[in-house]
Symmetry: C4
Subunit: 209 residues, 4 copies
């Protein structure tokens, strides 16, 4: 089966989700204080937008790297991918909720940050499940050697741990938790290696389409 349609649908969901993030950025308009004040009071929305945008973007880049090495698309892959998208689609909601509580001290800001980190953890887990599926024999264009598997598995753990930690830290300090999630995003933007990708761990031996 062709993987083109899997990519088209996935790209569509990522594109809509990443664009809906900005729906939360509206200001109340004239008659609600000076615009500079309104924008300043919305700083959590802008920070949240930036972090969520980069994180969705990184997962999209990694999804890209993962899927292009897949030789066979079956129903299990389609549904694993669907579960990944289920969490991606939740990100605008989790981002808006987190941002609206971020500047409010108190228990609710802890819960909102844990929810935010939890949706990212759900995304990381389902992405890891997709990755694990591709490691099975005959599912990739090029075989993945044992060394690359170990590296990839290490990265798999590395990609999941920060969000788990962020969930816990959220109940102590939402700001530190958000900083951690933002640091993960920046790390992967400037780091030149993909989080989880058997395709990139192996030297390319033959041209592909």
């Amino acid at each position: 089966m062709d993987r083109g349609r899997l990519e088209a649908f996935t790209d569509g969901v990522f594109a809509v989700a990443i664009t809906l993030l900005a729906l939360d950025l509206s200001v109340a308009g004239p008659g609600h204080g000076s615009l500079v004040n309104q924008l300043s009071q919305h700083w959590p929305q802008f920070v949240a937008y930036l972090i969520s945008f980069l994180t969705i973007g990184i997962i999209w880049v990694n999804h890209h790297a993962l899927v292009r090495n897949i030789a066979r698309v079956d129903r299990v892959l389609l549904f694993l991918n669907l579960f990944l998208l289920l969490f991606v689609v939740l990100i605008p909601f989790a981002t808006a909720t987190m941002a609206s509580y971020l500047a409010q001290p108190g228990h609710d800001s802890h819960v909102a940050m844990a929810l935010y980190a939890g949706v990212f953890e759900g995304m990381a887990i389902t992405f890891s499940a997709l990755f694990a599926w591709t490691l099975k024999e005959g599912r990739t264009h090029r075989p993945v050697p044992p060394q690359a598997r170990r590296t990839a598995a290490g990265r798999f753990v590395a990609g999941n741990v920060p969000y788990l930690v962020a969930i816990g830290v959220a109940f102590v300090s939402p700001a530190v938790s958000l900083g951690l999630i933002g640091a993960v995003a920046l790390y992967y933007v400037f780091e030149n290696t993909p989080v989880i990708s058997p395709a990139d761990a192996v030297p390319e031996t033959r041209p592909r389409t």
Copy 2:
């Protein structure tokens, strides 16, 4: 005619509809009770999101399986597909309406659930019409043998009956009706055979793109 653009447009509509589902998940924000309470009171929204997301996802997977066996795209197919999309696009509205009445006992919750099940039934009927169209001679890449037709027709009935039953049950118990629709979604996620697909009912005999 190429079927690529049919798929691209369809994937786009599915992607937007499935992402808009999450627009109904917003909470009122600070000053409206504790966040945990707000999230708890929104449980119908989360349950409805999960069931609608999986159902749209399943129809997308089946659409994928159906269309990739189609050899010829004509105007009739394009309009049958358009009628399917007409119901897919209604799902976020039906989901939001159902969710807002689910926890409210009374006649309205019955009407809201019947509306929800009715939109899914409309989707199932138009999908069946698409399927019936593909069974005509010369419209598929590989011929569909009589045995596969009978199996597929059986599945066609099987795919429509639950939603019809759910419409009736909605007027007795919305909760049971929703449970039925959710059970159908879970069944198709874990069942490894596509609902309706002549392509998968026939052993593959020659490579396709």
Copy 3:
């Protein structure tokens, strides 16, 4: 230049616009009268949804037929297409405005219906401009013979006149104007020939991708 990306972007805009139509279908929810009453009072929204959905769908089908015969994509075509999309994107706004005034007798319902018909006329004109562009020598895969040009030009006029008439009729009777626009949509759904398509007016002589 490849026409794939022109189609991908266009399909994306059509898909989002057609799905956003349903955003106007929300009901106020519990505590605002019985759900059946609320849905009944929203009948203009449902009628408007149906007509706008079918009209966008028809233009998409015709766009599909038009573009697949195009051999060369230049900047002029890209911008003509962009102007078509400018009107397509306005349809959800025009639909929501028209629907909110349809059941209110008075001058505003006339203006709202004229606005609705006007956006469709804008779409028809820009589509016609796209079509006229493709008739120039060397821009199509297969040459368009004079007879087919005349037929196509006749259809071009036929596709524009109803919306012009609907704008005028809107100031006499919005209901009749809407009926006319709806009749055009139904006509093209059940009529088996594309509105405007040089590609389909010519017998196919060689296989295409």
Copy 4:
């Protein structure tokens, strides 16, 4: 690596962003004064819609021209593209904010217009970074000769300067600033050469896909 998916995701984001522009066009509906008055009072929304739509469209056309000459897609390109999209996604927010303050004299209208021009400048800078990346040896299908580089660099400056000027002018006269941004859009629609594109600056020597 294939550039198809980069284009698909980018086209999806552009398509959603350009369609969301129209979400700001809603009128209050019956009971809020005559519809003609409501539409008249919303003139800043319509002007802003038109200018933002054309500007996003132009950047999409230029992105198209830029990417089709790219021979190799690496992570740096993917992230540069992601930063471009980060600003594209902000355009509906910046447009709505600018439009709501445009007709209100005072300091806030200056800030709103500077924000609007600033988002466009962000888009122009990230687009220029994408362009600079493609000029490195071996990244394009056809080599870009020194003369074409100079022309392209000139255009790069030309594409960034107007938005920088518009930011400054916004604090003197928002109307003049908006006029400048609109003039840039109209210039590129009617000018037949792409803003920044090494591909179009070089005579085509061999067929591409």
